[in-house]
Symmetry: D2
Subunit: 382 residues, 4 copies
């Protein structure tokens, strides 16, 4: 094993759920190690988190700009930065690192505005950086298997997509009771134009796109704002038309009591269908026309090579959320290692969500909001 790649993190201080997830997921494969951080706008918190995580004190920074400057200046500086801040900071933070040649793994949605996302892409290209957008769920082995099944033509031409992502964590207005994540998610200044479509609708859009390869041509969106004092959506129904003529319906909700994190994607084709559920992520339902429904299970011999290569443990031993995240980082770090070794990298050959997917995600959110504002009419994606 080569020495571990060093990375830094912006955001993800004590109390952040997602910062911890990124760190543990990266640890699971032991290919990279955290070496620098600006975990909070409050430096005392950064110091505290840094100490907990055994980071050298001189690599804990007051601002992300300082961090980008100083790490870029070190000969042993970080090779990539993980951005796990509220949405509105993704763009300015990513910019600082990219322009100094440091690769980026950024949480989704990539930016608030489509233009910002495109700018980041240009910057990454100009400065020869890799860029991953951490859409977790494409990391699941069985999401990859769903993609392989579609690609192989097992379900024929796609006719209909039905996808949903219900949660219930915002059923109460917990942002009023100091729940930190709820506070920024429901705040337009930090979340951007949309809360629910931005946070979880965008996962639907990404996962469907990842599995099917379809592009959305136009969409109709209905966004609901539920709960006193709220201004951003927390429930949405979206009808889409894809470039191949198929239609789809997406539902996402943060007020759907009875559901926790229930991302589910169903793809229907002329020859069969495939269904992936995040909460039951080691399995896949596959039905071929005229045949019984089959339950594919991760880790078996019939799983395609591309998907199977991301499996860590035998069938029947459940993998979960950390493994999905780890798979994204595994592909990203592999690409980065090759790039650092001087190879010419085409990100399309590495199975992590790249900046093009990030841009599509931001566009999807913007167009959904636009459709709603115009009275839930068809809005073209270009």
């Amino acid at each position: 094993m080569a020495k571990k790649l060093q990375y830094g993190m912006v955001g993800g201080g004590a109390g952040s759920f997602i910062g911890d997830v990124h760190r543990r997921a990266i640890d699971l494969d032991g290919k990279a190690e955290l070496a620098a951080g600006c975990f909070s706008s409050d430096f005392s918190k950064t110091l505290q988190t840094g100490e907990q995580l055994n980071i050298d004190k001189d690599r804990l920074y007051k601002t992300f700009t300082e961090m980008a400057e100083k790490e870029a200046a070190r000969s042993d500086g970080i090779k990539f930065v993980v951005i796990v801040t509220p949405n509105n900071l993704h763009y300015p933070v990513a910019k600082e690192f990219l322009k100094r040649g440091i690769s980026v793994a950024c949480d989704k949605p990539l930016t608030v505005e489509v233009e910002q996302a495109i700018e980041l892409k240009d910057l990454a290209e100009k400065n020869n950086c890799l860029f991953a957008v951490t859409y977790t769920y494409t990391g699941h082995v069985m999401a990859k298997e769903a993609r392989a099944i579609v690609k192989r033509g097992d379900i024929g031409d796609i006719l209909v997509v039905v996808a949903e992502y219900p949660q219930s964590w915002l059923a109460d207005t917990i942002e009023k009771e100091g729940q930190k994540q709820a506070a920024w998610r429901t705040d337009p200044a930090q979340s951007g134009k949309s809360n629910c479509v931005g946070d979880i609708g965008s996962h639907i859009e990404n996962l469907v796109s990842y599995i099917t390869g379809l592009k959305i041509k136009k969409l109709i969106a209905n966004l609901d704002v539920i709960g006193e004092g709220r201004s951003l959506d927390n429930n949405a129904e979206i009808i889409v038309r894809y470039d191949n003529g198929a239609s789809g319906t997406y539902w996402c909700s943060q007020v759907a009591i009875g559901f926790e994190n229930a991302l589910k994607v169903r793809i229907f084709g002329t020859l069969g269908s495939v269904e992936f559920e995040q909460e039951n992520c080691n399995y896949l339902k596959v039905t071929k026309k005229g045949q019984p429904t089959q339950i594919y299970s991760r880790g078996n011999g019939y799983i395609s090579e591309d998907a199977a290569s991301f499996s860590r443990i035998p069938t029947g031993h459940p993998e979960g959320f950390f493994e999905a995240f780890a798979n994204i980082y595994s592909a990203f770090v592999n690409a980065l290692i090759k790039k650092l070794a001087g190879e010419k990298i085409d990100e399309k050959n590495f199975d992590y969500p790249n900046i093009d997917m990030g841009i599509e995600g931001v566009r999807f959110i913007a167009k959904s909001v636009e459709s709603m504002q115009k009275g839930s009419v068809w809005v073209d994606m270009d």
Copy 2:
């Protein structure tokens, strides 16, 4: 037990799936017996079916008009007629019987045009007839329990409804191979304006309305026509807005490989949610805010009295499709028996789908088609 009530049937000849279902369902409770029929436009088929069913030959009729006339003229004539023809015949057949004072149980959708449905209602009232529209799925004990749960306020105010009805029987163009039911379902002349929304979308509309009591205020519909040579929809996504401000999303499909008859309704409120699945009809998923999801099972002590009264066998002994149908007929025949005994009947006090629900169903289909034709824009229900 009083003598069995005699009924007649129009449609449902040999080879018809649904005629047989209606007859067996009625037999299950032994309160009514088939005594007359016009099972086909081809009289030889009517004779053949009549013989199989032990019907007196002189009560087998060449036309439904003849049947209505002669049965109305008999002192021991049928007390109600069951109409199980293709959709386009519901209206003319029902009219013949109603105007002669014979009550009607008619398959859904009630008619092709809204005006026809309203006319039938007027006719039924004028002639003192009862009228049931056999929306099967409201007959399930656990659909009734879902309604009781909502009514009791267990899930609070309704915020969101998500319902679907995927099937796959029209994935192939089997109407070209002589499959009789497929032939008329896909034929506008017999089916009316819509195939998929008409046949199964209308079940969604009815079941949601039955469980929640909500009325649709407006809707957006996207209807797809899939399969060469077809002209009617077989896949549809519909967004609805209810009178209480809640939103809903309905998906129905006849080309969704992997699903057979998978009507599922989920109702989300401020305090909880309830989920009913037709294919798993002895159970109900209920979640109250902050509590584990509960699996209600038919036949237990905690089931509400209204729902429980329709249960025939103990918990763990599955009831199914026939029982749902039988429950509709059981309520209808009970009402009819009382009416024939001279009681004044308010159909709202009997738990079967009445003609008002039938009218709403036809309107829902018409408005869905209208929205599609106008480019999937909001269309008001009135």
Copy 3:
């Protein structure tokens, strides 16, 4: 359709769950009709039940012996009798009818003693009677499909059987509170040597035997008596060895809170496995070595002809407990009609549980009790 066959019933008076089930199940196919009865040892109750069921008063009898005599004497007498009494009466009742040439459909367990069961078989043969033992669950289409799958060799040679039948209705000592069925089930005088093994363990034995064709060679049984004041078993674990060398484990319980009527049979062979669950009776889990688990669903084209011939409605439209019962009666009545028409009948060619299965069931119960009494040691079945 020929005229309906007339049958009589012993037991099954008002308040009896199972009498009603038998009657409705027979009605479902309309091939036979109830014409005579001795529904209770209390004649006033028989009269009351008879009136509810529209039975001619002169065919309601004070004793089953009187009924057997008088019906046998009528030229239009019943063609078969349904016996739905407590277990201890099966033998004397069946005897009276058989010796007068009236065929019998009797509830399980067939008798209390093995010798009685064998005597009934001899009597049936001598008097040219058919004899069905109403083991309900072999009536399910998907239990028949499981049998077809095993027969066809799809799962290879059978290695292991795991079957269970947990219920919870006797978790409380409801027999003390006047629950009638609990009272006789827990009473050795009416139930026989065993309550739990007798009532539901025997269903396991029968269903496994039906699906696999295996014969039990020897068994070890552990029977528990749970609940104050009880003397009969209500929980049992049984290990069996079959004639082909395979082993099996059976668990039945009436005190297993969380389960209602959860008969489940899993058969493991050298090439695959098959799993049938009574509460989910429209489906079957089938796994072939190295392949994904498949969910077979009743009503599809891939279902074997033998099983499919018992299906009444399309896939996705649930059938249940009544249909299973009806299928047993359907096969039995078909055989009887042919016999009455003068055909020579081999009961093995008709798919209903015959008296040989009934005998095996009584033997299984007796041997289980014997093993327990000897300290849970191996006991041979012959």
Copy 4:
């Protein structure tokens, strides 16, 4: 965060599934790091694995005895050793480390003979060592929740236990084709007296004991040897009697096609029941008498504090096999850190499987084999 604790590993070389699992699981929490190893009896393999894992070359050892000696001699020597060899080596390896005061985390079953296990316990006590036996499945948050539910009395007094652990990986005789794990599992010299009961039956015994606190008083076992050329069991049915009078039935199998790693434990009490399934490890089925079954989900507010403290991510984000393992190590390392800091440790206060559980496990295996050898008769546990 304090500096990471250093540990060593015996066994777990390249190609070993379980060595990798232990290492990643420990990494997930970042409290300990691998610093020394004797990964194989073939030193070249140890060197290769060591290089892959970035271990200092001078801490890679030819024999486990050398490793124990030299690590014990270093001032910065390992604080505990992880033993992941075939079963027969657990005892000699553990002994070498314990006698030099190095704590041990050893795979199950702890030893081949009961006496060896007791000897290890004495040695651990004498040398002031901690000892964990890595029974994975007690590490699951929801197994801990099951235990909390039982402890709290939610399901009353335990009456019946039904547990199973079916797998199918030995359905074919893959040991003949060079599958390494199959080779040693089916070899009495390396596996000990039992393969199936030893490997997975012992997990059932441990998990039931962990959740219920019950002790087995006596048992009856039937062990099957399936597959040509095999001499050790790969399917077993065991009936147990617990000290409180309750009975239980355990089934484990390695030839059960259709099941992968399907450990399932159901506990039935006077007031309710609880069910845990390893393959669906984020949920628990709980039924209280007279109430609907409830699905407890990890990460919710109603989960007991003891269990919840082991949860890493929010509800709906699946945890799996690695997390279960990590939880065992987390508790063990916590205890060890306190001990190293001079605190007096009572292992019973730390939630990892200790050496007493390890001893019980070996006894269970030995007694199961003894019962089988005596003709499947009751064998007392003491």
